[in-house]
């Protein structure tokens, strides 16, 4: 009908029109993309620093510094630590998750939380508790004990969340095909947990590589502790830099390994309809053994640290609560925590927005750079920022900005996870609805998307805040002279073997971490449900 009613005045070529008049791609998006690129480049500073330093040092010197007995010793220590601790964490994490999610264990709701609780105790506080209770603890065995007790929840939480969401119909099908309970577990359940286990194992391994305080406390040498010793004696020397290069190389190998294990597998549920409830196995006569096993794990991972902190608090009496020391540390920690949390969320927002709203190769590249950065140990980030600040922008060295920037890099993944989930719940259609109701794009964005993302942003900011409160390594390297956060004050006291004096700080860090642990626990349940 309309084809015949074209009026003559449209005889000019309409294909020539429409070019470039409207915002296509919208100006906001290209500005955002530019911003995101800058952030991504900034996030690659630590990696770039390591590569630059390796090249600048010269190949011969690199070989000389890397191939020597000391590095071999550190490498052996680190690899043994990873090889022993990661499997232990997997056994404890998967076993605990199975007892909690798949058996009729009494009090499984309580145990579900109790097994996540060790995450509320920073590893270096755990180490302090053990070292001050059993002073003879040292070396690989001690390192493995403390690391396992501190980090097994990193496997437990994602595995339990995934296990709770597995479709029982698949297991029932396997049973109907003639598989017994054990065969079902190993042939059907365990393979479906592969992604969660690989992710958890990677996290544990990365923590093992980057942890400083916990291992320094018990005089167990890893790359990170050795880099810190080098830094304290020679500042940004070639030897320390080369150790950092090897450490980064190890991290990259771990990332690659995890990506390989994970593969392209996607275990989502096929089909529709409501999912049934998982079948819980009767423990029967194994109930008591299971309860005792979980109880001893809880006592070792939570009981011992709490007992130790309380013991030192009592031993120290009133005089350890020196308000002239305590309150400044608390306030400074709060300041850094709040500033870092806000900065991290602001920086993460463009990245999350592009990933959710404009998913393409570019946003994938941004995510990859962020993924690599998230594996960088705090010590490498700290070292990179120290060096870059001194050599490139000397004015900002020893300022709070450098430390805040390091926090942003270290903790951006925590904010991203939340922001992405929040943005996913604020679809583009809502913004378009607001625009069709007469609101300008900027106004529509503020009143709809920003408003709807606010709770997720707050959640992300809370997680970052709590992470900053417990950050030790980068803070030690980058904090301006005279800075005392809870973590560094604790560290200073316990390094002087003033265990009682350190106890109040330990207590406060644990108290602040409890809500973070709960948040993470809830978040993982939600994430697995999507």
């Amino acid at each position: 009908m309309s084809k015949t009613q074209l009026v003559p005045d449209t005889k000019r070529d309409p294909r020539m029109t429409g070019g470039g008049k409207a915002p296509r791609p919208p100006l906001g998006v290209s500005a955002l993309a530019l911003l995101a690129t800058l952030i991504a480049l900034f996030s690659l500073v630590p990696l770039g620093y390591v590569i630059y330093m390796t090249i600048a040092t010269g190949w011969d010197t690199v070989l000389e510094l890397v191939i020597r007995p000391r590095v071999g010793e550190l490498l052996l220590n680190t690899i043994l630590l990873v090889l022993v601790t990661v499997p232990l964490c997997l056994v404890l994490g998967v076993g605990g998750a199975w007892l909690v999610e798949r058996t009729n264990l009494r009090g499984h709701r309580w145990w579900a939380l109790a097994l996540a609780a060790p995450l509320a105790i920073p590893a270096f506080v755990n180490s302090y508790a053990w070292a001050s209770t059993v002073p003879s603890l040292a070396g690989l065995g001690a390192g493995t004990l403390i690391a396992t007790l501190s980090y097994f929840p990193l496997v437990y939480i994602p595995v339990a969340a995934t296990m709770g969401r597995l479709d029982p119909a698949i297991e029932q099908s396997a049973a109907s095909l003639g598989l017994g309970p054990w065969a079902v577990f190993f042939r059907v359940v365990l393979p479906q947990l592969r992604i969660a286990m690989a992710g958890g194992a990677l996290l544990v391994a990365l923590h093992l590589l980057s942890e400083y305080g916990a291992f320094a406390m018990i005089r167990f040498d890893t790359f990170t502790t050795a880099i810190m010793v080098q830094f304290q004696s020679a500042f940004s020397g070639a030897a320390g830099n080369m150790l950092a290069s090897v450490l980064v190389l190890l991290c990259m190998l771990l990332l690659l390994g995890e990506a390989k294990v994970r593969g392209n597998a996607r275990y989502s549920r096929v089909g529709f309809g409501a999912q049934g409830l998982a079948f819980r196995l009767r423990l029967g006569r194994y109930e008591i053994a299971s309860q005792l096993a979980l109880l001893s794990l809880f006592v070792l991972s939570v009981g011992v640290p709490l007992y130790s902190v309380v013991r030192w608090l009592i031993a120290g009496g009133a005089e350890i609560w020196d308000p002239t020391e305590f309150f400044p540390a608390l306030f400074q920690t709060m300041g850094y925590g709040l500033g870092g949390a806000v900065a991290t969320v602001v920086v993460a927002f463009p990245l999350a927005f592009l990933a959710v709203r404009h998913a393409n190769w570019f946003s994938k590249l941004l995510e990859l750079s962020n993924y690599i950065t998230s594996s960088m140990p705090g010590i490498v980030v700290g070292l990179a920022f120290v060096t870059v600040a001194i050599r490139v922008v000397p004015g900002i060295y020893q300022s709070a900005y450098v430390l805040l920037a390091a926090y942003v890099l270290l903790f951006i993944p925590r904010a991203l996870v939340n922001l992405r989930a929040g943005l996913a719940q604020s679809p583009r259609e809502l913004e378009e609805a607001a625009r069709s109701l007469g609101r300008s794009p900027a106004m529509a964005f503020c009143r709809v998307t920003l408003r709807l993302t606010a709770p997720a942003a707050a959640g992300g900011a809370a997680l970052v805040f709590l992470a900053i409160v417990n950050e030790l390594t980068a803070t030690l390297l980058l904090a301006p002279n005279g800075t005392r956060t809870l973590a560094t004050a604790f560290w200073a006291k316990s390094s002087e073997i003033d265990y009682a004096g350190a106890a109040p700080y330990a207590l406060l860090m644990i108290l602040i971490s409890v809500p973070m642990t709960y948040l993470l626990f809830q978040q993982s349940k939600k994430a697995a449900g999507q």
């Binding site: 009613q5 294909r15 429409g18 070019g19 008049k21 378009e432 609805a433 069709s436 709807l452």
Partner: protein, 369 residues
């Protein structure tokens, strides 16, 4: 249907023939995929247009271009004699176009009343707030929702109510043009018909020019006074529901808009000879071998019908029964033996193996073979 000129909306006296919206040769690609390949659509003021087509035909993209959420690669859009896309650009929020999305797109953080008031000017004083509240109540009433509904959250009301709220929200700004993007498809069958009727009534009473996008042909035919059939990024046919249904331009359009009986025929003059006898064809420009299209309801079972056929099988649907019939050869005519599917209201009149007499009512449409 006896005149030879195709009926227009104006000739039906439905609406004045003023072009309110006109798109000219709209082209839009996403990446390497060309979604719209030159779409010309005209909509008269106060009219109701349904854009119907299979999924992926580009109908939602066309709607989004009109709304101003996307910009055409080439081509122009004129709204109320004003260029809004092409040589000029008017952003969505300045087009005064209402838009109701598939799922309503209600703001989850606002109550129903706040959703409806979203497009109203913000009230800074008590008088303004009272005026806004009155307008919200009026709009709730307009879409037949109770005033008490205003305090609810979007997730607390049903799907049909959500769509009514979305409509009320879009009506609040008194738009000149309302775009409905499959607003009923998420609703279940019974609710869909009722909600569609309610929405159509409200829009008609407010005299708002409306464009509905749907993949449901019966929805398109019943809702609109102009139907535009979209396929592969172009408009295959535009016309009144009656004309597109009874005189589709090609077999694909014919089958998309409803069940069709297709038979081989020999067209001589304006009479098509086939297994159903001689069927009159209008505008018979083709001659010789053709494909003849009839609607199943044109074929009736009557005791005095001249055509004979044997029932192959039947499927009972309650209110009606579909009957597959093998046509008996007609003496002196080619063909015979084709199986056609028609509908009948009485299941007991057609049992497999029964021989029936058939009669064809009205005209057929001839397509090239």
């Amino acid at each position: 249907m006896t005149t030879s000129a195709p009926p227009t909306l104006a000739s039906h006296g439905l609406v004045p023939a003023v072009k309110f919206l006109r798109t000219i040769d709209l082209v839009k690609s996403f990446g390497s995929k060309e979604v719209l390949k030159g779409v010309d659509l005209s909509v008269v003021e106060g009219g109701t247009t349904a854009i119907v087509g299979p999924s992926g035909s580009g109908k939602t993209t066309l709607l989004r271009l009109i709304a101003g959420f996307e910009n055409p690669d080439s081509g122009t859009i004129e709204l109320n004699s004003r260029m809004v896309a092409g040589d000029a650009w008017i952003p969505a929020h300045k087009r005064e176009i209402g838009y109701v999305a598939q799922d309503g797109a209600l703001f989850p953080h606002l109550s129903v009343a706040q959703n409806i008031a979203f497009g109203l000017d913000r009230a800074w004083n008590p008088a303004g707030r009272r005026a806004n509240a009155r307008r919200v109540a009026e709009l709730l009433d307009m879409v037949s929702l109770e005033a008490s509904m205003g305090d609810r959250r979007p997730h607390e009301i049903s799907g049909g109510q959500q769509q009514r709220v979305a409509l009320a929200r879009a009506l609040a700004r008194k738009p000149k043009l309302m775009l409905l993007d499959e607003p009923f498809s998420a609703l279940d069958a019974g609710l869909r018909v009722a909600t569609r009727k309610a929405v159509a009534d409200v829009l008609h009473a407010a005299e708002i020019t409306t464009i509905l996008v749907t993949h449901d042909q019966s929805e398109a035919l019943s809702f609109a006074d102009q139907v535009a059939v979209m396929r592969g990024g172009t408009l295959a046919q535009t016309g009144t529901p009656f004309s597109v249904y009874t005189r589709p331009v090609d077999p694909d359009t014919a089958e998309f808009l409803g069940d069709a009986v297709m038979l081989e025929a020999q067209l001589q003059g304006s009479l098509a000879m086939c297994s159903l006898g001689g069927i009159p064809v209008r505008h018979a420009t083709l001659q010789g071998r053709v494909r003849l299209m009839l609607r199943p309801e044109q074929i009736r079972i009557t005791s005095d019908g001249p055509i004979r056929g044997v029932v192959v099988d039947t499927v009972f649907f309650g209110s009606e029964t579909t009957v597959r019939i093998r046509l008996s050869p007609v003496p002196g005519l080619a063909g015979g033996g084709e199986i056609i599917t028609i509908r009948h209201w009485n299941a007991s009149m057609a049992r497999p193996g029964m021989e029936l007499n058939l009669r064809v009512i009205g005209e057929g449409v001839a397509f090239p073979v």
